[in-house]
């Protein structure tokens, strides 16, 4: 096991609409590190203020002293694609790796970051797809917000 290790990165904002307590985030990150045999280094906690990635910036500055980072979730990366690409580039340049504990996945080269990016882009597009890309299990019929959704339901029921 490397001496440098993997720094955890947890947050204070909801991830994909779900607010995970930091204690739970840390449990998930530590469990991931243990299962993968990664030397875990204490997690940094991102700010609660929307749009702040100041802690992530500190983490990226530390990359040359780390083997990699373990995000609680890949969906804690910045919402802007260019900003995400800058994160990927810095991790690749440092010869490090990005792990996402909740999604149980890792990326360390251009190809694996491209696969991760495609997944994030599609996930970001889902709220704009019919029914907001979400099947709710609240026992109610799907909410119709657009003419497209009304037309699709009409087809399904005809």
């Amino acid at each position: 096991m490397s001496e440098r290790g993997y720094r955890g990165y947890v947050g204070s904002r909801p991830v994909r609409g779900v607010a995970f307590p930091q204690r739970v985030q840390n449990l998930v990150v530590r469990d991931y590190a243990q299962r993968r045999g990664l030397a875990y280094r204490l997690s940094l906690v991102e700010h609660a203020m929307p749009g702040s990635y100041m802690i992530l910036e500190n983490l990226l500055d530390e990359l040359l002293r780390l083997d990699g980072v373990i995000f609680f979730s890949a969906f804690m990366l910045p919402p802007d694609a260019d900003a995400r690409q800058a994160v990927y580039d810095r991790i690749i340049a440092a010869g490090a790796s990005l792990h996402a504990a909740l999604e149980n996945r890792m990326a360390a080269d251009a190809r694996s970051f491209a696969e991760l990016e495609e997944t994030i882009l599609v996930a970001q597009a889902l709220p704009g797809t019919p029914f907001a890309g979400r099947y709710e299990k609240d026992g109610r019929p799907p909410a119709v917000r657009t003419a497209t959704e009304a037309a699709l339901l009409h087809i399904a029921n005809s």
Binding site: R16, A74, F75, A81, L102, E103, N104, R105, E115, E118, T119, I120, L121, V122, A123, A125, L126, T129, P130, F131, A132, G133, R134, Y135, K137
Partner: protein
Amino acid sequence: MTLQPSTHTGWRFGSDADERTGREFVERGYVIAPAEDRAALDAIRDLLADTAAQHLGIVRPRDAGAFLDDIAAHVTVAQLNDLRLAIIDALASADWFRAAYFATARGLLERIVGNELAMQRSLGLSIQLPQDESSLLPLHSDAWSEDSPYEVVLWIPFVDCLRTKSMFLLPPAADRRWRERMAEFAGAGVEALYRAVEPELEWLEVPYGNVLVFTHTMMHGNRVNVEATTRWSINIRFKGLFTPYSDKQLGDFFDPIAVRPASRVGLAYRLPPGFGA
């Protein structure tokens, strides 16, 4: 020259195969079809047999199917979970496995689901020894828990599966009827519901060489395998990439496997900047 309208009435959006498959899937809740890539199917079965033999410390017989069928001669119920984990690990480590699995039913999935697809990242492996009561999956619908009803399951047997060595489904018409009455069993439990629907269940016959695609919205499950040989099957879920997800989300449970160029262009497109708010 004037075109005759009567000579231009034969165009349709769906092919005959599309319509036949679609009708069968909606009416029966499933489609069974020959594997589209037999080499891929055989390669997966070989990996199962090779890994099982290696794990059990025996020489793999030439006939992989017969070896899997008779695996109960080499493993006990108590040893089964370790074998299952070893095989899941081998499948997950084989970088060709997911593409090969998809290749066995690519056209069928595209006809039933679409051509922009998400595939479950993990897999379900069933090794059901004869008389083993520890590997049962009670009557359920996946849509009752974390899954989206837009998903389908690609279920592939690696031995001939029939009767109790296979799985059961409650056909769509009966499923709709019993679903309406399900709350009547709230105080009685799932086994009571099973007893009620049992006369209407369909046990699927899926010989090796075939694949099954079904909607997990229908009640389904398995019972004790009372046949003479062991069931081996794998199940993996697929769904339209841009159709609604439930709690099994893209990125953790599903990954995109087919994103078409127009979608890539759309995903990457940004309106011209610099116009203020």
